[in-house]
Symmetry: D2
Subunit: 327 residues, 4 copies
């Protein structure tokens, strides 16, 4: 079967609900909706193992920020989204300002839609070294923060979690914040959603490899993950299109007819064959669907997220002070 890929908890919940239509709302899962002007915030709490199994995501809190259309082209909206992100992160980060935090930019800086994490990492206000190097520049109200972009397995030859674990053991942060580009299931969510969770992250999880989780269990410190869907697999688009056509035909036919039966009987092998015909390319490997101006969008998103993190980890500084510090 073609395994449709989503890293987003909201999509996972939709998928479950679609395939279990009779069922009453999900036990073990609580959903809270808020909004700040045109920015809506949805919290999904996966409260127990039953809920976790249903939506295929570990127990924990998942907060999704829906960002307004065209945010990437509008500096003022970007700032507003950063502030909401800072506020949401603040709920999950309840740590002593004296303890140090490590920001990890996951992903491959050579691949535009995967470069979100590294681009955030280079915009983080790094302060951990200042107490030693220029103690006069900072006072006690500044939290020590460090930032790395560990690269991906294909360009380092090392599992990302091994690099992070090595750095964590040497620098002993109290908190790790990971940022990664994700895959969505629907085009509508691409670059439109920021998902924050306290459950860790699997680098390249969607690609199907069984990678080691970057989470509290493996690193020994609290892990907050921030993800933005920047692509949809082309295979997902093809799959969803086929489903839509068939659903549309089924709606227009009476159950019991040969027609209806035939539609119902289109099996997975046939579907897979059709998809391959449309999107398989011997030359080019995995195809993705992405906006044409992805370079610009990734830049904007990295600014939004870096600003949000900078404000959240430095509760004693406002955006202006941080900008002044960053130049």
């Amino acid at each position: 079967m073609i395994n449709v890929r989503t890293d987003l908890v909201l999509e996972a919940r939709e998928l479950y609900k679609e395939s279990h239509k009779g069922e009453k709302d999900l036990d073990g899962i609580e959903v809270i909706e808020e909004s700040e002007d045109d920015i809506s915030v949805t919290t999904v709490k996966v409260k127990n193992e039953e809920g976790a199994q249903k939506i295929g995501k570990p127990k924990g809190d998942y907060i999704t920020i829906d960002i307004p259309s065209f945010t990437a082209y509008d500096g003022e909206t970007m700032d507003r989204v950063s502030k909401v992100l800072a506020e949401v992160l603040g709920r999950l980060i309840k740590v002593d300002v004296k303890k140090n935090a490590l920001v990890v930019g996951l992903g491959n800086w050579q691949v535009t839609p995967d470069a979100l994490g590294p681009k955030v990492a280079e915009k983080i206000m790094v302060t951990r070294h200042l107490q030693t190097v220029m103690p006069e520049a900072i006072d006690d109200s500044v939290r020590p923060v460090s930032s790395i972009a560990p690269g991906v397995l294909g360009i380092t030859g090392i599992e990302t979690v091994e690099i992070i674990k090595g750095v964590v053991e040497k620098t002993k942060p109290e908190l790790v914040i990971c940022v990664d580009a994700l895959a969505a299931r629907k085009v509508q969510r691409v670059n439109a959603t920021i998902q924050i969770s306290n459950t860790g992250i699997s680098p390249g999880a969607g690609v199907g490899n069984n990678r080691k989780q970057i989470n509290e269990e493996n690193l020994g410190v609290k892990v907050i993950a921030i993800g933005v869907p920047t692509v949809v697999d082309a295979i997902t688009i093809a799959n969803d299109t086929i489903d839509l056509v068939i659903d549309s035909l089924i709606k227009n036919s009476s159950s019991g007819t040969d027609f209806y039966k035939m539609l119902k009987s289109i099996d997975k092998n046939e579907k897979e064959r059709l998809i391959k015909e449309v999107i398989y390319s011997e030359t080019s490997g995995d195809m993705i669907v992405t906006p044409k101006d992805i370079d610009l969008v990734i830049n904007s998103l990295s600014k939004i997220i870096a600003n949000g993190i900078n404000m959240a980890v430095q509760p004693n500084m406002d955006m202006e002070e941080i900008n002044k510090f960053m130049g």
Copy 2:
């Protein structure tokens, strides 16, 4: 109607043949196939207005080089493709080595899949100025070559053809070679095909705007266009998937039944609605389908094409001498 986009003459020919299945082979169009090891070369000659109308492309010669799978990852194959390209270009360029040639890299260097042209432009062996600046470095066997990347309308505010025309009038080249990234209709052709023609090119033509052609008529000099399809519109993928599903269902039903009739009657509005549901994104604008490692692939392709052009316009130098010159 959703207008399926292709810049490729081979695809245009296929489209025509698909929709005119009874018809005997295309009058006014001649096709010649050759190959060099695993690199195949197809020449389509659109010989008259009848042929031009049938496939929706101007009269002229279109030569398509099919490059082997994984060429972008293999330096040795890249060199072989460059040599075939040089040879093909040589057939179209029959000009005096003393006259100067202008290479134009079309496209937007800020958008990865559209950056092919500018990346080729910066790898061209530029020699036009040497006769003045360092006459001792070159002799009579070196053809004067210049190279520009004029940008795109959205970042210059100027129609590309206006910039090129301005430069052509000032520098009076005998030949203009334009390089551009194209859109394919099928994923299988993405980054797998180099199309060379002597009919000019429409920048951003596929996007639907009525831009001025970059061709001999408008520039007053011979124009050779080199294009590589680097993306497919997401809309095309969705459209083709729907057609495939319906065709597949039709094949399995008997004509005359209600079922058959219903399939035949799925109208264009319905199709458009389905496509919109799958690929429309308010936030992100136009979606494209592209390989995940497009940054790497564009780099490789720009080397292949720049090497091919460099050899073609400098028939008195071999690849080694050119590399030596280029560093």
Copy 3:
């Protein structure tokens, strides 16, 4: 003789005064000093041929903005400098808002300290095409602006002025604003000064080649040049050091002694030999002196200048509206 290079009128004036110490202040040259908080503005008016000859710069107005230390690291100061630049440009641009303006980013985008011009060009709010492409997005108060980065002779093979002239003839702007990275004579001025003039510019002038001027005479339209010194030639540093040592020794010796005579007699050949010994490199070609973080500084400067130009050419929009437009 080693010809010490400066593109800056303030330095040219200093050089003249140093070597003509007895002379009273320069005839034909008027100097006006102003300041806005910590940003000082010096206007040098070269009023006639006598003045022009004395300081080796064409007749016209030269306005120099001295930017505060560490501006490149401080967003708020950057904005203040942009506003002063916009105001200064406004004095020189007295043209009808309905006529179109062309911004030209001179320099080589592959060479960091020379990439200032191209980086400004890509941050210009381009509007010239909107009246055709999306007339609903703009109204009459928006001036048509276009922007190009023509590259440098070594990568295009074409004299820059030829490209600009070609574009000017096709697009008929009423005003051309050129932006270029300059060479200073003193390290203290590097990235510390913006020079604006209405006399045009010589691309690569300092390098010693006799390039064609980009000015009103050659282009047929008003030309405003904006330059920032981003490097000092290493040869200048060595030269100035030698002069300083000798001056310092002379001050400590009595005129008439052998010692004094010897110092006075150090001739140009000897000086040249010493300089060569210190800074000549067979392997590396021309050496420049530049700040270590030049990549960051060029980015900041390009933002300052692009913002200043955007405000100056769009007198009906404020910085916020422009930022909103630019994304």
Copy 4:
């Protein structure tokens, strides 16, 4: 005192010899010269503590490859230098092909002359993960290699040695190869020399901070350092110029005269004052001397070094096979 900075053992040796002219050749230091065509190789063996103190470098072997002029512009010479580097590295790497090696690209990828290390790191043939991910792609003759670019203190907030140590403890390589951009004392050596040693490296050592060494003692595994001088501090240029002028004057004066005495008495404070006057810039911070086309040169050097390392760590593969693997 102005501390003249050099990371190069050959320069350190020259400096010692200049200031100890009477002394016979250096005890505890052995020098061997070889050459391969126009590429010369100098081995300096610092054999004991006496030698180490004299030239201010730790005990160990230092091999310097002098690369021919204009190598960075000539692909064929680049390949020859890579081969010499591979051969030299082979002498120092005498380890089991089954054990894994870690390549570390030191330096800041945002600062062009400091980006050599990171650019080498991304051109390394990484294989360590293949045994797990695609065991069919490799056989026993391929050594497991991994590669990281840990960044610099100012952008990570973490001492580089801490990151490397963390990764070494997790991945247990038998050998670490570090690549870094160095500072030279003489312009003539900039981009003209590759220094290989088995004594480790101090990141940013020359800047004056007391950073932790990256060496066998601190990491617990053999460390080979590869360095290329890509800059000279501007302060060094000024300092050397002053010394040259004074030396030149001294040579022309008779000892015993007032003149001679005065020259001899120019003290360090005066020298420092003169230097500050020439090269101090409040706005711009540390100034460096570098070739104008440093972006191009760093690219070429990173190819040379990455190829040399790839061949050295994969003795069972030739350059062609590696290129094929790398794409």
